[in-house]
């Protein structure tokens, strides 16, 4: 069977399809928009961490030992998490210049990592409430906080507000996890019929 003629026919057909024009002014606008967002991501990644660190250093001598230890633990976890997210983002950008097989593998890993991050975020929502309760509990046990002063300082209202916020935050994280699961599944389904996956 001679395959040259059919290939020429297909090539001719392929080249006859109508093509669209690129809107270069729109691309320029998107590029500037994206650059602004990337700078904002970097700033927002670091700002929360640096503010927390600054406050910890500033109030270090006023803090009881248990509070300083808990906050140090939270800062270390937050720092590691921030570093991991930044590394993932940079890794994803650089992978887009690799060959397509390598890129798909990176994309799959990225979707899986994003799922894990979303799950960690989901669990951080309820665990941060738990940490708050533990801190208040320890403060009560060591005599730094009585129920009356807790109520007078708005502790109950604070707890309710944080609970509502964390519930919303947890739901948002859950939806993100589902989204990344779907994207991963779609990517895999594109490949499943390949002869040599």
């Amino acid at each position: 069977m001679n395959n040259e003629k059919p290939e020429q026919d297909l090539t001719a057909l392929w080249q006859q399809q109508p093509v669209s024009e690129i809107d270069l002014s729109d691309v320029t606008r998107r590029l500037k928009h994206q650059q602004r967002f990337q700078r904002w991501y970097i700033v927002s990644d670091f700002t929360g961490f640096l503010i927390g660190l600054g406050m910890l250093i500033y109030s270090w001598e006023k803090l009881p030992l248990y509070m300083a230890l808990v906050l140090c633990g939270v800062m270390v976890c937050g720092g590691v998490f921030t570093g991991f997210v930044i590394w993932l983002r940079r890794h994803a950008v650089l992978a887009s210049f690799e060959d397509t097989s390598h890129y798909r593998e990176t994309l799959k890993k990225q979707y899986l990592s994003n799922q894990r991050i979303a799950r960690i975020t989901l669990h951080s929502a309820w665990s941060s409430e738990l940490i708050l309760l533990v801190i208040w509990g320890i403060a009560a046990v060591v005599g730094d906080l009585s129920w009356k002063s807790f109520v007078d300082k708005g502790g109950v209202a604070t707890f309710i507000i944080i609970s509502v916020l964390m519930a919303g935050f947890g739901y948002w994280a859950y939806k993100r996890e589902q989204k990344f699961k779907q994207e991963y599944a779609r990517l895999v389904s594109q490949e499943q019929n390949d002869l040599f996956p």
Binding site: N3, P6, E7, L10, T11, A12, L13, W14, Q15, Q16, Q17, P18, V19, S20, E21, I22, D23, L24, D26, V27, T28, R30, L31, Q34, A95, S96, F97, E98, D99, T100, S101, H102, Y103, R104, L107, Y111, Q182, E183, Y184, R186, L187, Q190, E191, Q192, N193, D194, L195, F196
Partner: protein, 167 residues
Amino acid sequence: MHKDFKQILAEHQALLSRVASSYEANESVRQELLQEIALAVWQGLERFNGDASLKTYILKIAHNRAVTHVSKEVKNRDVSQPDDDDIVATAGAIDEEPDYVAARSRQVTSLLEAIRTLPVTMRQVMTLTLEGLSYQEIAEVCGLTKNHVGVLLQRAKTTLQQRMNHE
């Protein structure tokens, strides 16, 4: 420098448009994908060091962006809706008989639909061949061996012919 990037994009817009059409049937979403691809290529051009040809480098970025698009976009809408009905084959359309142009346009639509049903690696190998890339260049873009490219291409051609003949 940005002016050069714009010029490169303008020179390759037909090529990039065909990449977009191999992944996306819906016209408005396809145009959106083309803009996304153009943006990715523009960003990628800053890192181009001349190790490979510009065309293969651009195609690599374009296909990578398109794969991301497919995994993100499809869940949001019904992909079975008819999208390529208005296609009119371009080359030679002015002087030729309307019946011939109509038949040719149906063939183009049929080819595009068949290509979009191929698994992603096979689709990439097939469309890169249709763009005139050598086995070596396709292997470089897709991260495959030349033999693997040959096998995938043969299977893709057979599948395409079967699917186009069925329609």
